[in-house]
Amino acid sequence: MTDDRLVIAGREFKSRLWVGTGKYKDFVETQKAIEASGADVVTVAVRRVNITDRSKDNLLDYIDPKKYTILPNTAGCYTVEDAVRYSRLARAAGVSDLVKLEVLGDERTLFPDTAGLIEAAKILIKEGFIVFPYTNDDPIVAKKLVDIGCPAVMPLAAPIGSGLGIRNPYNLKIIMETVKVPIIVDAGVGTASDAALAMEYGADAVLMNTAIAGAQDPLAMAEAMKYAVHAGRLAYKAGRIPRKLYATASSPIEGML
């Protein structure tokens, strides 16, 4: 689907599967899984550099920023101040103005604090950031995020790392109908069919981490997700048949004995 590029804030993306880089065994596995997934956008976190043990490799030695779009996140931030601080640090670390903005509301659910999210997004957009907000499956919040200048919205399918799949397809569909920017379904995907469904509903991309990194065979799951997202996108564009209660014969009656 070379004519089916995803464009956000003037940037073109080849892949509609975006992946996180957490929870892998080591950087080699991270690198291989990303390669198998075909993703060209990868999320990273910002943390203190280990100053006592410098033997540890750097993640960016394995994920070439020239080859991939590096999308720093503000994972672990529970306040507007922290999320803004981490976003500025990410930009200072020199990758780009992109940030996947997370303002979390609660440690147990990791649900977004949407009031804090909107506040932080406003501050960052004013500072020139391109904000990708991790948000709830709430159409009103999604609309507000777009109104303040987010070039895409990232509603969750289910709680982060839960693998529950899409818990509220109707809300996601409403978001897709009412919001005029790309929708990236983020978090909660468990297996390939979840990703395919998200794309069939009309999502523009899917972002995941645990579903791949936590699978028994992460490389095989990465590949499965690549096909699932591709298949889901094709099915969405192809247009599915309507659901009907009764059968419709697909073989002609004519010519029967």
Partner: protein, 77 residues
Amino acid sequence: MQDAIRIHVNGQERTWRSGATVADLLQDLDIRTERVAVELNLEILDRAVFGQRQLQSGDRVEILGFIGGGAAAKAKD
């Protein structure tokens, strides 16, 4: 013999030589400047000033970089 200063680097108290700049500190720690952000007493520094900003006793330096993280990892540290 130069005076020593006491500074905090990523939460750890360290003794450093006085007159050292942020760039010296990074070099001494064997950290490549192009992939880190440095916060000095809560002020995020532009990479261009690393070589000019001298450290003072009591300074709090935070050096941050990118690690694996995903569709929102829980805070690990």
